[in-house]
Subunit: 413 residues, 2 copies
């Protein structure tokens, strides 16, 4: 079954590769319109998922992530139109050179081919992921969580019909409706047909894909992000940035989890930070030196410094200097987003050069690591691996290149 | 043991990240000089490998791949100096934008970090791979074939000493001297320390890495390349290009394995091709229509059309038109290098657009798919996957990027 889906997707991808812009746009607009037109059906199917989830004892918070509303469906349709309006990235020639033998060699941006997406509960990912793949002329095979199977099925049916009416090839978009573990592992090993697999979701899901997949994977997500307050930092700025990075949305991957403070300024800045964090009831956990200044807080263990809390908790460590801060971050971080607050030129540059992460900041909140904030217009995820794409991934991350070579009879000596 | 190597490599990679150009160059020059200075020792160790190999009944052809000579060592040293002379790619900022909120975001080219290389018999890969990794400021862990263990050990020892004397951090270059299967599988799963794994060698090796690795892999190598003679082709050019693509070096991945000929010109061109291929005793295997014109040749099975012979064998198929040719190539090819011979503008462009391969040629030999021929100055392999790098990989393929973000107090709304 999966192999047949793969074969159809591969076949579709070869047609999609040269699909004209007008047809592509018509397909995306048709999806947006169809989502709006079929709002009631979508809500009815989604209700089955939510009811079943609650019946099984699912939490209200998780049920909310699963739930669609008229407004959420309208926002999904609007998102589709926004992606449709983005500039075309496929087909661009990134450079062309003429070799001494007369061969003209160009590097052309092309679709990846067939993209597999494995994700969890939120049904809006079904629409987001499909539309980003299709905008970049890729076929896609989606596999959402079992909790959202009714929602994902109706959304895929609606999108498939819309694409068909606009002239997209069959097989451009498919949903794996069998949500068994066996099938998802087979999907991860469908090398003959899949060009890439993108997992979206929690640490468990991503690790399972990394461990089981033989198809190339783009790893997304985990962020144990640090704010380092260097001794020359503007204290007000430091407190303001930490407040934003820790408390504006603690559940996301670009939120700060850990604070490093230079020893020389620890006595001055830590009490201000304790006050600011108290506004949002952030639990502080500090190293011994931190607890000399803030004796009321808990002790941070080595394990704390490796932990992405995704919650109103902050670990704090007093460091000797920037060198200790850099070494600590490169050891404990997950290579996502790291920030220094400083007014010193040399320290700023040393931090930018020495931190091994997808995004390194001077005097700004780590919360900016995001496709929209970076100006990409869309985001398929944030890569924390170094291969292919690193950091927020926009449409270009869903493309590959091929060399096109113009000759006039050249043979190799 | 492997974890300790990984830890050391990771640590070295953080220093290498900011290694100044002068030190880097000194290290590579020291390697070149040391290889020349220690020629006799290298030859003595290499002799142990070759003798053991022949004693075990190894073939003379394979022994020749394993054997080093004074000339081969001199060529290796020369190759190191050539890589050293290439322009620096690490540190380049690929673009910088200012966002409406004042954040300045740059995309900087950085090393991948720690690269694992798994390869087979030829000991010169030990030097090639090490030097390309080091030139791009990556630490590397090499794992060569057991047949070359004495050669690889002495080469690594010599290079390690040279690097140390030039001021490279310890752990920059390491060889896995335990060549057991268990250890190599553990290397493929060393996600904590390895950023990427590059296999170099035969199909079996590459498939084993793809199937077993959890570390991201760049797949290199296999090439079932086609020459398609379209009906408007210049016949002399077509015969000349096929001769070059098939016979100039049949064992390599960019050599042609299969010929497609338009039905309308098959009667005219196939006898000329049979003559030209006979010069090099190339065995021809044709479809039924080919055998109506060349009745003396063998029948090509469906299996033949999927086969990379790496030998003086050519499969031939007569096709109805360019559409059948494109469909055949996209089904049977390995996405390496594909060529059309034509004088028709529309056919040339249709072929360039529709073939899904790393390099697509008009009127030139597939043999040009090569880092040197493409002007990259060096080559770590030819990628046939679509993620990260596709086609010949030069120094840039051994790099990643990171975003560097300059703020002045920005927080996210």
């Amino acid at each position: 079954m999966l192999r047949e889906m793969g074969r159809r997707a591969k076949e579709a991808s070869l047609t999609l590769m040269n699909l004209d812009a007008a047809t592509k746009s018509a397909g995306l607009v048709a999806i947006a319109n169809a989502l709006t037109a079929h709002t009631d059906e979508i809500l009815a199917e989604n209700k089955k998922d939510v009811d079943a989830f609650l019946e099984k004892g699912g939490s209200a918070a998780m049920a909310d992530r699963l739930r669609l509303t008229k407004e959420r469906i309208a926002a999904m349709a609007e998102g589709v139109l926004k992606v449709n309006a983005l500039p075309e990235v496929v087909g661009e020639v990134l450079g062309m050179t003429k070799r001494p033998n007369g061969l003209v060699i160009g590097k052309k941006r092309v679709p990846l081919g067939v993209i597999g997406m494995i994700y969890e509960a939120r049904p809006n990912v079904t629409v987001d992921a499909a539309v980003l793949c299709l905008k970049t002329s890729n076929a896609c095979i989606l596999r959402g969580g079992s909790e959202a199977i009714f929602s994902n099925s109706i959304l895929t049916d609606i999108m498939t019909k819309a694409l068909h009416s606009a002239g997209f090839p069959d097989g451009s978009l498919q949903l794996v409706r069998d949500t068994s573990r066996e099938t998802v592992v087979n999907l991860m090993r469908l090398n003959e047909y899949l060009d890439v697999l993108i997992p979206r979701g929690g640490k468990g899901l991503i690790q399972s894909v990394v461990q089981n997949a033989t198809v190339p994977v783009i790893e997304t997500g985990t962020g144990n992000c640090h704010i380092y307050i260097e001794k020359t930092a503007d204290m007000d700025m430091a407190v303001r940035i930490l407040y934003n990075a820790k408390t504006s949305r603690p559940s996301v991957c670009n939120a700060a989890e850990s604070l490093l403070v230079d020893r020389l300024i620890a006595k001055e800045v830590l009490p201000q930070i304790a006050l600011s964090m108290a506004e949002k009831q952030v639990e502080l956990r500090g190293c011994d030196k931190t607890r000399e200044i803030l004796p009321e807080i808990k002790t941070a263990t080595e394990e704390d410094f490796y932990t992405e809390y995704n919650d109103y908790i902050l670990s704090i460590k007093v460091v000797e200097d920037i060198h200790e801060a850099i070494a600590h971050i490169n050891t404990h971080g997950t290579g996502h987003s790291e920030a220094i607050i400083t007014s010193d030129y040399t320290s700023a540059n040393l931090f930018l050069d020495s931190i091994d992460a997808a995004a390194v900041y001077v005097n700004a909140s780590t919360r900016f690591t995001d496709g929209d904030e970076f100006g990409f217009g869309a985001e398929i995820g944030i890569s924390t691996q170094k291969l292919h794409a690193r950091g927020p991934m926009g449409l270009e991350a869903l493309t590959s290149t091929k060399y096109i070579v113009y000759g006039n009879g050249q043979v190799r000596e």
